[in-house]
Every structure is written in C-alpha cells, then in structure tokens.
Amino acid sequence: MSGDAVEDLLYQGFQGRLLEESLRRMPPSRRPRAATSIDVRAIVIARAMRQTVDGRGDLCCPGPMSPGPALAFGATPLEFLRHVTRKGTSPASARAGGTSWTDLRRGLIGWDGARGTMTQVLAGAALAFAQRGQDRAALVFERRSAIETGAWHEGMNFAAAQRAPVIVVLAPPPRRGRRDRAEIEGVARGYGVGLLWFGGEPLIDVFESVAGARRRAVAGEGPSLIALAPRTDVDLQASLDAFTEWALAEGDRTGGDLESIERAAAAGVDHALGRIGKEPDPDPEEALAAVRTDTPSIRPWTRMKSPRPDGLAGTAPSGASGVH
C-alpha cells in the first residue's frame, strides 16, 4: 500500500465516521431516508480499486454502503449531503434519490432501485473493460438480501459465465448467524467465483486481499464475491484505531501528521454541514428535464400562458412531441 493510499484511507475513514455521526444527529425531516451506514471496511475495499478522474479508472456502485465507497472514489461530504437532502445543486439535480449518484468521470455509478440490478449493470460494464483489454474492473455493493433475488443471480451468472472483471460486495444485514456464511459460500461455489469474507481483520489485510482480487479479475480470472460480517460482530472503531497505529508504526508519520489529517477531515464535514442549509432547492423546471437526448419535455398545457382573449387557462396543446 502506497503512502498516499494510507493517508487517503485515514482521511476518508475519519471523514466517513464524522459524516455518519452528523447524519445521525440531523433532524428527522432532513435526514436521508436511505441507509447511511458508513463502514470503514467499505471505504478500504473501494480504495483498493483504481480511481481516476478521467473516466478511465475502475467503476464503483456504492449502493447501500454509500457514502463510504463514494468518498474513496472522490466524492465530497458536501456533494453527498446535497444529494441526500435533494438540493438543486445535487449531482442529479434532485431528480433521483437514494444515497449515491452517477459520475462516470470519477467512476461512480448510482442506483436506488431494485436489488440485484446493479450486479447486472456492473457485469456489463466489466465486460466492456475486458473486451477492450483495459486495466479496469467494476465494484458493486449490494445488500446481502440481493442474493435472494433473481435479478442478482442473473447478473452474477452472466458475470461468471463471461469471466467479467467485477467484484461484488454483499453488505451485511444487522445480524446474521453462521448459517448465513455457509449459504454465501455455497453461492460462490455454485458460480465458481472466489469468496472473501471480512470480519474484523486488519484493514491493511482487507486492502491487500481486495487488491489481489482486482488483479485476478483484470487478468481474466473472473469475478469475486466479498461478504462482510455484520457490524455488530465487528468493532469498526477498533479497526480504524488499529489501522491508525499501523500507519504510525509502519510509515514515516508522526502523531501530529495524523491529527492534521483528522482536523482536515473534520473541517470538510463541518463545512458541508454548515453549507448545506444555504443550498437552493431545485427549480421546478428540472422536472421538465429531457428524458431522451433529443426530444424536449413539454409543460402541461394548463400551465402555459393563455393566448385566448376569454382568459381560459392554457393554450391549445402544441404539436411538439413531449415525453411521449
């Protein structure tokens, strides 16, 4: 792991923890409805992929683990808050919800719909990487329950059959027993894909394991499945503390360096929290944003300025094709 990666992980780990705490403190009316659990293991997994800002790096669907993986792929706390609080400045202009959005330049792809869908989509994206011989892989975070859906199995089956370079992470439910592990191991065996199971292992080991899975995927050895043990079974704060100690012991860093990183992370989150209340709500015109690239949406005729002298509302519907 490079020195930059270590510092990034510390920064994003601190930022994730602070952001999660801030979200918990938000008044219910402003709090995002979607899950905003920030698991430092998810940040580490995402950081083990290859990030770029030119659309040529790896692709990540942060899914239910957002914003952790999104932070690793370059999202800022302010962008995240803009999105989850539906501000007009949000990356999706408040036209889509959930906890993640799409910015293909940075390798982020978002979704808040049915489970399993993104395993299909990321398998196809990974297939495109393989077809072009690119050093790129796809990473998708799904809820653990995705493997109960047909959509997920169709996506996983396609990925395995095509040996697509995709890594699928199953985000844990609050609490599951040993049987759950056996079930996931059976699924991985069934598709002939590797399985990584992460409990409270040192984060550096998590990073190296995922980096290895990524290398194998890009080399054409096929997808990997990652399962995370429930948070209740793992002391994530201890994991982050241990990583911090490791970073101190292994690298050329001082306690002052770490404090500086933590202060910078806190400043970013504080800035986002202070700023979000001042961000504008979306313009209603956004609702008319085109749903196709070449066909404008038209407003309802009852909301057009009336050209009629009798003042009847609206105007005759135009001949322009609208959404339909």
Binding site: L59, P91, A92, S93, R95, A96, W101, T102, L104, I109, G110, W111, G113, A114, T117, T119, Q120, V121, L122, A123, G124, A125, A126, L127, A128, F129, Q131, A138, G150, A151, H153, E154, G155, N157, F158, A159, A161, Q162, A289, A290, V291, R292, T293, D294, T295, A316, P317, G319, S321, V323, H324
Partner: protein, 340 residues
C-alpha cells in the same frame, strides 16, 4: 475469422431484393463493420445463429466477444447491456421472441429508461426481436409488446413494415443515443410479397417520422408493422368502391409522429387506426386523444379502430384467425367511416 459472408447479408451486395429478415441482418452486419462499439447479445445468436437465423455466421466474422451467447436470463443480459452502454459500447440485445422481454421489464423501465433523467447519462442500446401473430405460435410466441413500453418516458419504440424501413430504421436505432425497442413482425421476416431492392449506399431513416404508404383523400388509415400490408390490401378493396384511403405507416411509435397524423386527417376528415395489438390500452386510444387535443375541428366522423380482440393470442389456427384483425375488418370499418 471467416471471410465468407453469410447469405442473409449479401442480397443488396449482389443486387438482389432482400426480405425483412435479410434487411435486418444487413443492418446489423454493416453497423458492426462500421463501428466496433456495436456488439450483439442474446440467446443462441452465436453458434446457432439465432432462432430465426438473423445472425447466422456473425460469430465467424466478429468473434464470440462481439456475438455473445447469453444464459437464458433476459433481465440479466439486458442489464449487462446497460452497463456496457454506460462504458461507451453500443449493444444490440436480441430477444429470441419479444414475448420474452417481460423478465427484462424491470431493468428496461426502471433502470435503462430513467438513466438520462437520473443524471446517469444516455444509454444507447437496442432491444430487438420478433413479434406478432399469424404463425400459430400461441400466447407466448406471438405477442406485440409495444404498449407495455409505450407508457415509459425515456424509451423509443420502432416497428418497421418493409425491408427498406427495417434496415434504415435499425441503423438509426443503433446510432441513436437513447434506448430503443425494435419490433420485427415475424410474419414479414420472409414474406414473398415483402422483398425489396435496397439502396447499395449506407442509408438511415430518421426515427420519429411516419411515411405515407398510400395517398388518398377520403379517409386516413394510421397503422404500422404487418398491418400496413393488411391496410393496403383493404385500401385496394375500398378503391373498388371509389373510396380513396390514405395509409400512414407510423414506423416509429415512440416518439409518435403526431404532425403526420394530423396533416393527413386535415386532408381526409376521417381517421381509422389499425393495429395488431389488442384493443384495450392499444395505441389507437392515444392517437385518438392526441387528435382530439389538436385537430378536433377537423373530424367529420368518429375515430375508429380495428385491432385484435382483448384475449391472449390463441394457439388454434381457427381461433387465431378470428382473434387477429383482418383485411375484411379494415374494409368494413373503412366503408362505415366513409359513409358516416
């Protein structure tokens, strides 16, 4: 890789007329040669060449990376096509029969159609396959699927009726930046009456533009797909009674060429909509409403429709013949409307 061309893509090169199936195969072949981003996914389209042999021999020329035999999982490979489209490829998904598109309904309507609006960017992909009855295929191999998707903002729907249109529209669909459902009536695939000499040059027909298949002044028949041919037969019958029907072939259902419909109606004052799809919730209802909004004053009679009856497509030949709209039905409706 093989240098021999599959027979179904050589008709135009050899100066011979092509069927609808051959026109579609030519469009796919030429687009794959023109643009390496174009690739195909579907069940049995590679080694087997597809259930209707549209892609026979493609795998020999383009290889298994661009002609992908998928598992039997329409949702899975349509979703994968979306991912590939996100990454700049231009996938063409084949549904073995369009009846099987229903497992992909979720990803098509929830993910693919909403992509641009959600800020996830355009998704240029085509989902094509055979539709339509008359082949004794029964309820699961004979449906028309357009209205299952017509209500979904973000999609385009194309339904050609001739070899020339099939080739030109499919090329446009592949080059379009939006997701396109492309319906091919299997009754037209190899129909002897539906062969055409196609232009040798590369050509594309713009989506969203209807064509006048027959000019007339007494009534307008708006239709598409196989029903264009049934309507033309009916128009010939009506002409014996000196009723001059105009036949408008929609070609693209979404977006709908309202202007063409209204322009024809303003000439004839009478409107008959003919579609093979079932009656309730069929496109005739939408067309009637749009004409009501835009051209009510031009109507000299009720808007009528001739459609399949509201039932699953029957398996028995006798039942299916009764179920499908016939030339006689169109003639009856045309005479009624003319005299109204």
């Amino acid at each position: 890789m093989s240098t021999d061309l599959p027979a179904q893509v050589t008709r135009t090169r050899e100066g011979r007329p092509a069927t609808v199936l051959e026109a579609i195969a030519e469009a796919l072949w030429e687009e794959m040669e023109r643009d390496e981003r174009v690739f195909l996914l579907g069940e049995d389209i590679g080694a087997y060449g597809g259930a209707f042999k549209v892609t026979r021999g493609f795998i020999d020329r383009f290889g298994p990376a661009r002609v992908i035999d998928t598992p039997i999982s329409e949702g899975g490979f349509t979703g994968a096509a979306a991912g590939a489209a996100h990454m700049g490829l231009r996938p063409v998904v084949e549904m073995q029969f369009m009846d099987f598109i229903s497992p992909a309904y979720d990803v098509l309507t929830n993910y693919i159609a909403t992509s641009l609006y959600r800020g996830a960017g355009p998704l240029p992909l085509v989902v094509r396959g055979p539709v339509g009855g008359g082949n004794r295929g029964g309820p699961f191999h004979s449906q028309n699927v357009e209205m299952a998707f017509f209500h979904t903002p973000g999609l385009k729907i194309v339904y050609p009726s001739t070899p020339r249109d099939a080739k030109g529209l499919l090329k446009s669909a592949i080059r379009d930046d939006n997701p396109v459902i492309f319906e091919e009536h299997k009754g037209l695939y190899r129909a002897p009456y539906c062969r055409e000499l196609l232009p040798r040059d590369d050509y594309a027909i713009p989506l969203g533009k209807a064509r006048t298949a027959l000019e007339g002044e007494d009534l307008t028949i708006v239709t598409y797909g196989l029903m264009v041919h049934r309507s033309l037969e009916a128009a010939a019958e009506l002409a014996k009674d000196r009723i001059r029907a105009e036949v408008i072939d929609l070609r693209t259902l979404l977006p709908l060429d309202e202007d063409a419909i209204v322009a024809s109606l303003q000439k004839t004052g009478k409107l008959l909509v003919v579609h093979e799809d079932t009656r309730t919730g069929g496109i005739a209802g939408e067309i009637a409403m749009r004409v009501n909004e835009r051209a009510f004053e031009w109507l000299d009679g009720p808007i009528l429709r001739v459609t399949a009856i509201d039932a699953p497509v029957p398996f028995s030949g006798e039942l299916e013949d009764y179920f499908l709209p016939s030339v006689a039905d169109v003639v009856t409706a045309g005479r009624y409307l003319f005299r109204y």
